[in-house]
């Protein structure tokens, strides 16, 4: 691998380190807990309304597996269909190549409008464009909040979930949008006024894609605000950047995903706007359409028979909202555009570099409780992939602190007298306790207690007590 893969943020600490900082931020934890609790309840209700939810999940899983197992065929079919309808297809091996293609397509434009897109975040498109003098304007309200606050997103679907209304008002005020109050209505109105002029005048738009249909060449974007519709229809030129795995075989397959995605993500029966377009339509929408097919670690992920199921992901974010680890640490602790349980398995695979310590720490950012698998609309077995990737990370690292500790434990357990001595030593740990909890241990124990308390060992080992009283 030549250049660094921007799926992870440059200079981010490993997960345990970032999590420790986040855990100390009570405002962040409160914002997150309120949001995830609300959305969990709403989602359960939206899903409970459909008697065939399990059957839809199984169909979604099967369609996505079919796509992955015949990906070469479906990509060729998609390319032929898009080309036949007047679109242009480009192939990008990595982030740098994708950014170069988009930059070249921007031509003389100094400003482009963008609808929120995970793929373009993953390749660091905004930064690459800025370096070449092109300003990319994020038009999704939450994305705009993140961009104006010079911040990083913390959620796949609600990137500014870590911000409350007064923080958002401050960000808008500093950027000169001047909202008169922190009422969400007033804040949304300020964003509307700020972006309207750009929508009406911009020549080039950049989008992601939720799905692309191989047999028709249709591309699909789901959104709520109408900024997506603006980007897809008003500018003269539309550039869509899409991960390879977003292809679905047939138009009929959308009937499954148009039911699974809205209910899993925003807990709605349907999101306010879904747009589909097939090539270009004279007199309606852009005159030029370019589709950039992005690899950037996807084929490497596909090569792992256990890990490849991560590519089934439709980016609904349901797994984030149920994850007890995400709820406490927030999305930015993952140091990647893909946070939460799906990020913990997707990011290390897309990065595909065993020496990237930050990415390698992500499979450990989980309690393996399994809630993420239960809500996943395409049945990605995240816990199994997590343990698989943990094993890979430990192997790549050689003798880690954890494997050293395990080897020491085996040595202690192998002899009765060593075990008893160790128990007495364990009682010494009481010296570190407050109120019956140990929140800090020295040495190797620190890794355990940095983010959780340990129970205090008994004053007297059971074996010793038995010998004195009953022996």
């Amino acid at each position: 691998m030549g250049t660094r893969n921007p799926v992870t943020w440059l200079g981010s600490p490993t997960f345990p380190e970032a999590a420790r900082t986040a855990l100390a931020d009570t405002q962040l934890r409160r914002n997150l807990r309120n949001a995830t609790t609300t959305i969990r309840g709403r989602r359960a209700q939206a899903v409970g309304e459909l008697p065939d939810w399990e059957r839809l999940r199984r169909a979604g899983e099967a369609i996505k597996d079919d796509v992955l197992h015949h990906l070469d065929r479906y990509l060729e079919q998609l390319e032929a269909a898009v080309t036949a309808r007047g679109g242009v297809v480009h192939w990008a091996r990595d982030a740098a190549e994708a950014n170069d293609i988009v930059l070249r397509l921007c031509g003389d434009a100094r400003e482009v409008v963008k609808v929120k897109s995970m793929a373009t975040q993953e390749i660091g498109l905004n930064e690459a464009l800025a370096a070449a003098g092109v300003h990319a304007v994020e038009t999704d309200l939450a994305e705009l909040i993140v961009q104006l606050g010079d911040d990083r997103p913390s959620h796949i679907l609600v990137p500014a979930i870590h911000r409350n209304r007064s923080e958002i008002r401050e960000i808008f005020r500093a950027a000169g949008l001047g909202p008169a109050s922190d009422d969400p209505r007033v804040l949304a109105e300020a964003a509307r006024a700020h972006l309207r002029r750009k929508f009406l005048s911009c020549e080039v738009a950049v989008s992601g894609a939720n799905f692309a249909v191989a047999d028709t060449g249709s591309v699909v974007v789901l959104e709520s605000e109408g900024n997506g519709r603006m980007c897809l229809t008003l500018p003269r030129k539309l550039i869509t950047v899409m991960g390879l795995e977003k292809v679905v075989p047939t138009w009929q397959d959308l009937e499954v995903f148009l039911q699974l995605l809205p209910r899993s993500s925003t807990a709605e029966r349907m999101n306010p706007y879904t747009s589909t377009w097939t090539g270009v339509t004279p007199g309606d929408g852009p005159e030029e359409f370019h589709l950039v097919l992005l690899d950037n670690g996807r084929t490497a992920t596909l090569a792992d028979p256990v890990g490849r199921q991560a590519l089934r992901c439709i980016r609904c974010s349901a797994c984030l909202n149920v994850c007890p680890v995400y709820e406490r640490t927030g999305g930015r602790s993952y140091g990647s555009v893909y946070p939460g349980p799906i990020g913990a398995i997707l990011t290390p695979q897309l990065v595909d570099d065993p020496h990237d310590e930050q990415a390698a720490s992500l499979p450990f950012a989980s309690s393996l409780c399994g809630a993420c698998f239960e809500v996943c609309p395409v049945r990605i077995d995240i816990p199994s992939v997590l343990t698989h990737l943990r094993a890979r990370a430990v192997e790549a690292k050689g003798r880690s602190a954890e494997s050293v500790a395990m080897a020491a434990a085996a040595w202690v357990f192998a002899s009765a007298s060593r075990y008893e001595k160790a128990q007495k030593l364990g009682s010494l740990a009481r010296l570190f306790a407050h109120d019956g909890r140990i929140s800090w241990l020295p040495g190797p124990g620190a890794a355990w207690t940095s983010s959780r308390d340990a129970p205090v060992p008994a004053r007297e080992p059971f074996r010793e007590w038995w010998r004195k009283n009953r022996g």
Binding site: T38, D66, H69, R85, A160, S218, S275, T276
Partner: protein, 195 residues
């Protein structure tokens, strides 16, 4: 530099060397459902859109009552002539669309289960920008255009046309998950369902 397309397809084929098998897709989920006017009206109202259930004779009087004195974008192919309305006809610039008071359209299909209307650019619907820039969208749905479920709706649609699925007015939940109607798209959606 090798051709990116050839290299990526080569990587895909190499990645699948274990010849993974794919079980067939079982489509035993619900395909048909209640396509009633009542269900559609109920579901649209749930998105905080305005819904009127009317007979064919009531359409024009109701439109006149709602839109009189306004400058309304009217695409070609609509069968109603609404008295008192200044009809704006394409071609219009984006600035003219932005200044209009509203837009009146028909639709291609509606989905009762989800409360969705779908526009495909056919007669009475116009190009996509017409229903995007004006702040008030009034849409008339005939009862024979109602499909029960998402699968039934997709079957009726032509994927080669530019399609817009609309479920309620523009909305955001980005600030503390508070739903606010109207960010960039129309802030008011008004649907007439004709029995």
């Amino acid at each position: 530099m090798a051709d990116a397309r050839a290299e990526i397809l080569g990587r895909v084929r190499a990645a699948l060397r274990d010849k993974p098998d794919t079980p067939p897709v079982v489509r035993d989920y619900v395909r048909t459902g209640d396509a009633s006017v009542e269900l559609l009206a109920d579901r649209i109202a749930h998105y905080r859109a305005t819904v009127h259930v009317v007979t064919p004779d009531e359409v024009v009087p109701l439109l006149a009552e709602r839109l009189a004195g306004k400058r309304i974008v009217v695409p070609d192919g609509l069968p109603w002539d609404v008295p008192g309305v200044t009809a704006l006809r394409d071609p219009l610039t984006v600035e003219e669309l932005d200044r209009a008071d509203g837009v009146l359209t028909g639709c291609a299909v509606a989905i009762a289960q989800t409360g969705t209307i779908v526009l495909d650019g056919g007669p009475g619907q116009g190009r996509r920008a017409l229903t995007l820039l004006p702040d008030h969208h009034v849409c008339v749905v005939r009862s024979d255009q109602i499909a029960g479920t998402v699968p039934e709706a997709l079957e009726r649609l032509d994927p080669l046309r530019p399609l817009t699925f609309i479920s309620g007015p523009s909305a955001t939940s980005d600030i503390e998950l508070d739903r606010v109607e109207g960010v960039h798209g129309p802030r008011r959606l008004e649907v007439l369902v004709v029995t």
